[in-house]
């Protein structure tokens, strides 16, 4: 029986690869949008305008304080009643970008704040504008602190993208869920699903670890 189901599973491999492609496109688009919005948010959060900084802080808290599944449902089910009709795919990308942006925002803000104050004071004394300071002095140094958790965040992004299967996006998890109705070998089907996620996430986790080690070596040398 096991062999028969294994055959069945092998036959549905193309279906699984479609799921992989869906996961990669949802996660990739959200990675792109989330990183840009997150960096802008982080710069505002660490900036001088207290009011804007507080607003960004509240947004981050609201996103961090609620489960991603609830956010997905809110975007998918509630926006239509406000007159914005969304397919599952754009709703998933919006929810995931929003989530990623809020986390990257905190990473970027704490990276900027970790740069010693003397650096920006020296830049001010040299006559650099606020924008020039950010571009040439603060951000390049902050990147060292930002990079390892940023890559770690991308791993979380890939993993969190599994949640959007709940609104019917046919990603790897959804493919597994559909397959298990036909091939009732849960361990085998979701073992395969897990392996596919592992193949995407493990290189990223390694990269994050390597970046972190490299950063600590640099720091101890100083």
């Amino acid at each position: 029986m096991w062999g028969f189901y294994f055959q069945e599973l092998m036959h549905s491999m193309p279906f699984f690869f479609k799921g992989v492609w869906m996961t990669i496109s949802v996660a990739g688009l959200s990675l792109f949008a989330g990183t840009i919005i997150g960096f802008i948010g982080g710069i505002i959060r660490a900036g001088r305008n207290k009011f804007l900084s507080a607003i960004v802080g509240i947004w981050v808290d609201l996103i961090r304080g609620t489960p991603f599944l609830v956010q997905v449902f809110i975007i998918f089910f509630i926006l239509p009643s406000a007159g914005i009709e969304l397919e599952a795919f754009p709703a998933a990308v919006i929810a995931l970008s929003n989530l990623t942006a809020s986390f990257i925002c905190e990473i970027v803000a704490s990276g900027i704040l970790a740069v010693p104050k003397g650096q920006s004071e020296a830049a001010t004394a040299s006559g650099l504008s606020y924008y020039q300071q950010l571009r040439y002095i603060v951000l390049p140094q902050a990147m060292k602190t930002i990079m390892p958790p940023l890559v770690g965040q991308y791993v979380l992004l890939v993993k969190d993208s599994s949640v959007v299967s709940a609104i019917g996006v046919v990603d790897i998890t959804r493919v597994g869920w559909l397959t298990v109705q036909r091939v009732p070998e849960g361990l085998m089907v979701f073992g395969l699903v897990g392996l596919l996620y592992f193949a995407i996430c493990y290189p990223l986790i390694n990269l994050s670890g390597r970046l972190e080690r490299r950063m600590t070596v640099v720091n101890t040398k100083l």
């Binding site: 961090r64 489960p67 089910f77 791993v155 897990g194």
Partner: protein, 222 residues
Amino acid sequence: MLESFNFRVIWEYMPLYGQCFLATLWMSGLALLGAILLGIVACAMRMGESRSLAVLAGVYIESIRSTPLLVQLYFFYFGLPTVGIMLPEWLTGVIALILNSGAYYAEIIRSGIQSIHTGQIEAGISSGMNYFQRMRHIILPQALGMTIRPMLGQAIVLVKDSSLLSLISIMELTRAGQLLTSERFMPAEGFLTTAVFYLILYYMLKWFSNWSEKRLVFKEAR
């Protein structure tokens, strides 16, 4: 959207929400307890003398960290019955949560212990302390101070992750929102109320985290 917001229905469903709030609370509480215990065991195995136990713990931690919780949840939900293990749904959910968070707790505890300078342990040895005295008086008090914040951070993640249990039809906060959506077709009322309950838990844990940092963390632990 907001002008038609129906507070009466929310009030009507309040007993359900209260019940579900308690369910979320005790299931994540139970999972938290189990996960910390599992984390301690896994960490001790990984850092211990035995090579094979260390490899075992390493495989466990890495495979959990590089696959999504939802896939792990489905793995147990669809997989355990096929090998003849019939568990009630809530138990399957709590076990998945424990196994998931346990891996993260193992890493948190490990980084806490590793952050203690070897000189401290050597000083303990040369003062004639035995292994348990060193653990009790030198390592654990400092490691606890270093790890209390990431531990509470993981507790927040755990509470939010428990929302995924609604996808295997366990009654908890997110499920209450889904019920309101399907019975009355009021997704806004349903999921925003759910979100508010999660935010209450989030702010409580966050407040406790800030408080504990002031009270418990020895800033100059090194």
